[in-house]
């Protein structure tokens, strides 16, 4: 998505002033047509798999097996959706996903912003070491079992904290944010200090209002990551009513495809849903995030570009 957006931007913003005054050259018009075609193709290539998934999720199993479903659903049916949504556990787990995502994103944003803001101050003593501590974790991790033992002995198991706290700061996001804060003019903050604001006031009243773009970007990054994540929940949640919907759906697919499951016997109607099941799963888990995307997207490109170029 990022590459498409950045490619599109200059073509959209540069021609506008030209169009009014100077007449477009022939070459430029050809370029615009070719450009339009190429970009339309790109859109189609990106969109096709998703439309196909939606079509599959609404189609009858037999048509999918026969390989006849492309863009339009065949033998329209909502059976798989009904099968999934009639399960109360699905809704419990969906609610968990929303709850975990919101909580973890809020915590992550607060933690990342604080850390990044501190690191952006060049006069800070030991700044190099603080950066080093963060970057170190990009290369070395404690490993699965030590992490598990730590989280368990802190008593975080079976709670949202097991998901939110160990992943609260993503170092990549931290560095992007730090670069963004560094790019803000120091004069602003100095002026605010002269006018009597303390450090927290500067952060809350001056810096953050100027950083909506990067904060929105980070919200999107974190929210998508937490929404899609299943591993932490799988590790630390010992009861199914605590699982997020990703674990639920992952398990459902494993049960329907049955590779792990030689000994037990599955139901005909449930296995029937197997071909559509994956498609329905993808639709149901991506839809909410897709709905959020358009609202945050305008900040998205700007935010990450600002950080990247000046950092």
């Amino acid at each position: 998505m990022v590459t498409v957006d950045t490619a599109e931007r200059p073509t959209e913003s540069t021609p506008r002033p030209r169009r009014r005054g100077i007449q477009e050259t022939r070459g430029y018009r050809v370029f615009r047509v070719v450009n339009g075609i190429v970009l339309t193709l790109v859109v189609m290539v990106t969109l096709y798999p998703f439309v196909n998934i939606v079509a599959r999720s609404l189609s009858d199993e037999a048509y999918i097996i026969a390989g006849q479903v492309n863009l339009v659903p065949r033998g329209f049916t909502l059976d798989t959706y009904q099968l999934l949504m009639s399960d109360p556990l699905f809704w419990t787990n969906y609610r968990n996903t929303v709850f975990y995502t919101v909580t973890a994103t809020v915590i992550s944003i607060v933690m990342t912003t604080c850390y990044a803001y501190v690191l952006s101050k060049k006069q800070l003593k030991g700044r190099g070491m603080l950066v080093g501590i963060a970057v170190f974790t990009m290369f070395f991790t404690g490993g699965l079992i030590p992490n598990y033992v730590l989280v368990t002995s802190l008593g975080l198991k079976n709670s949202v904290w097991a998901i939110a706290l160990p992943n609260a700061i993503n170092v990549f996001n931290l560095l992007v944010m730090k670069a963004f804060f560094e790019s803000l003019p120091t004069e602003l903050e100095e002026a605010a200090a002269v006018d009597g604001l303390n450090t927290y006031g500067i952060l809350l009243r001056i810096v953050l209002p100027l950083s909506k773009a990067i904060v929105a970007t980070m919200v999107l990054f974190y929210a998508v990551a937490f929404w899609n994540s299943w591993f932490a929940a799988f590790l630390y949640m010992d009861r199914q009513e605590l699982w997020p919907v990703t674990v639920y759906l992952r398990n459902l697919i494993a049960g329907a495809t049955g590779a792990e499951n030689v000994g037990s016997i599955t139901e005909a109607n449930e296995v029937q849903a197997e071909a559509t099941l994956k498609a329905v799963t993808i639709v149901l888990t991506t839809l909410p995030i897709l709905l959020v995307y358009p609202f945050v997207q305008r900040y998205f490109v700007r935010g990450i570009m600002l950080g990247a170029v000046k950092g």
Binding site: E61, A62, I65, A66, G67, D87, L89, G143, L144, I145, P146, Y148, V149, T152, F234, L235, D238, R239, Q240, W243, V247, Y248, R250, N251, L252, I253, A254, G255, A256, G258, E260, N261, V262, G263, S264, I265, T266, E267, A268, E270, V271, Q272, A275
Partner: protein, 545 residues
């Protein structure tokens, strides 16, 4: 890192143990036999056939493999009835079936595992033995009269021996079958057989003639296009053929070594003459365009599509794929089509049933040994998983509620209870609403029990298969830790090379004249050293036991 530190700890523990046994002058009764501190709640006179009931209410933690088709419910009749029959409640750690093995490893590694760890397959146990986290259950068989009884009555000693580790003990309580239960074979379009006036093939040679006749009638079709090729090419087909040629296993059940009873030693499966013959057979099928070369790489869905659209007539199958996949697919595309699972074709090894009589089973955390309820727990495990009454309870439920028995004692589902469509439209479901027939608690047993829910068609298939001789079980060759580590380093390159060469030979990219060169390549990948280690371990085990 973690494994190594465990190994150091284990080595240190071993040294300590050795020292303590020296100071204690050897043949002291080991403390594993003194169970006087661990008898709380246990029954005094528990024998095979006794109904187990703890003398006080007990609770044991259990790792629970949560199947999405019947997700865990606390109000299942299974739990309440179990409590009233045995006075035991189970404290479940629910793990999604999709990643059960990973969580199991994690919990055992972190020392946080529940006491009972079911749904473990025999080869998975090796990884945990050296950590000391798993109980050597073979030391405590006296607490498990039903388990011992079944091994003796069903003559399972040879199978059980394959579970033994280097110390001569075993760490898994496997699922026990009286008769081998073989599931996989070929599904064949019988309407095409009728149309071409062909008999159902009994041997692999007859399979060849059948495919040939199909090809003659339908020249544009690859009559045989197979599935189960991921992650291993032709996983099921190669495995079926390997068994029919007298090998230990190939494909998705690849076994590096096969026991040669005449030479009294292990041979490398991929380098045997039988393996070559089996590849030649497959190569013949491919060369004559009887077997779709894509069989070795395509997805299951694609293979199903070809069958559904009559672009192939033969495919690998088990009882479920036949009923759940092929028949509904064909019903939608070609209502006249008929398809059936044929008895496993016979090869040079004769009429054998290649299935193992051991199934996945249960490990027990070694920390359970410290519990004052240890004896009661072992009795409970013995009753629920290995007694006839416990097995019937776990599978069928409560007589009069979930099932009824006829005069001959044969159980059938109660009319208002459904299971795999046996009582279509019934308001309740044996697994979802009652918690019986649950893969965690119900497996193995007598053939009547195992086949309880099978369709008449599948029972017929099982009857044919049960008439065949069970496969002879190879002798055990338990490796020690260093050997196992060494062997696992050799195994991957060897296996990769066998897979690669298998495809090359079968698809005709490599000539069978190069077979010796291929064997030499295996040798350069330490095949001989591998065999030496395995045969050495086998001899060592024989001398010791």
């Amino acid at each position: 890192m973690f494994r190594r530190s465990w190994r150091h700890a284990a080595a240190a523990a071993a040294v300590l143990l050795a020292l303590s046994s020296v100071t204690a002058c050897g043949d002291d009764p080991s403390d594993s036999e003194d169970l006087s501190e661990n008898r709380a709640g246990a029954m005094e006179n528990y024998t095979a056939g006794t109904q187990f009931k703890a003398t006080e209410p007990l609770s044991f933690s259990v790792l629970y493999n949560n199947h999405p088709n019947y997700p865990l419910k606390e109000d299942w009749l299974f739990w309440t009835e179990l409590k009233s029959r045995t006075n035991v409640s189970l404290d479940k750690v629910a793990v999604p079936l999709s990643d059960y093995n990973q969580k199991r490893s994690l919990l055992i590694g972190a020392g946080d595992a529940p006491l009972l760890i079911p749904k473990t397959y025999p080869p998975d146990v090796h990884a945990y033995v050296s950590s000391g986290a798993i109980l050597p259950v073979s030391d405590y068989l006296d607490l498990m009269p039903n388990f011992k009884d079944k091994i003796e009555k069903w003559n399972l000693k040879a199978e059980i021996d394959t579970l033994r580790q280097q110390d001569g003990k075993y760490y898994l309580l496997p699922g026990l079958h009286e008769k081998p239960w073989h599931e996989y074979s070929l599904a064949v379009r019988t309407d095409i057989l009728e149309e071409l006036n062909l008999q159902v093939p009994k041997t692999w040679d007859e399979v060849y003639t059948m495919l040939k006749a199909m090809k003659a009638a339908y020249p544009d079709v690859y009559p045989f296009s197979d599935r189960f090729s991921q992650p291993n090419p032709a996983g099921n087909l190669l495995n079926m053929l390997a068994a029919s040629y007298g090998l230990e296993g190939a494909g998705w059940n690849f076994q590096h070594v096969t026991w040669n009873a005449q030479a009294q030693q292990f041979e490398y499966t991929g380098a045997t003459e039988q393996y070559k013959q089996m590849l030649q057979y497959l190569n013949k099928l491919v060369a004559e365009k009887l077997l779709d070369p894509e069989s070795f790489t395509q997805t299951d869905d694609l293979a199903r599509q070809k069958l559904a659209n009559s672009k192939s007539f033969v495919i690998s199958s088990n009882a479920q794929t036949l009923v759940n996949d092929y028949r509904p697919d064909l019903a939608a595309t070609n209502p006249k089509a008929k398809i059936t699972k044929i008895p496993l074709p016979i090869g040079p090894a004769g009429e054998i049933n290649p299935a193992s009589r051991l199934e996945n089973g249960m490990m027990i955390s070694s920390k359970a040994r410290e519990s004052k309820n240890f004896v009661a727990m072992m009795q409970f495990v013995d009753w629920l998983w290995y007694s006839d009454a416990g097995q019937e309870f776990a599978k069928w439920g409560v007589e009069g509620t979930t099932f009824v028995k006829d005069a001959a004692g044969k159980p059938t589902l109660a009319p208002d209870v459904d299971m795999i469509g046996l009582n279509p439209g019934a308001p309740k479901h044996l697994q979802k609403d009652f918690g019986f027939g649950n893969g965690v608690f119900s497996y193995g047993g007598k053939p009547e029990l195992v086949q309880g829910f099978f369709s008449p068609e599948e029972q017929e298939f099982q009857q044919v298969m049960n008439a065949r001789a069970p496969k002879t079980v190879p002798p055990p060759y338990p490796l020690n830790d260093e050997e196992r580590e060494q062997v696992s380093l050799w195994e991957t390159p060897l296996k990769d090379h066998v897979y690669q060469a298998t495809l090359q030979f079968v698809l005709g990219q490599r000539d069978f004249a190069e077979w010796d060169a291929y064997v030499a390549e295996l040798k350069s990948k330490n095949m001989d050293a591998y065999l030496e280690m395995v045969n050495g371990a086998h001899k060592r085990f024989q001398e010791k036991n």
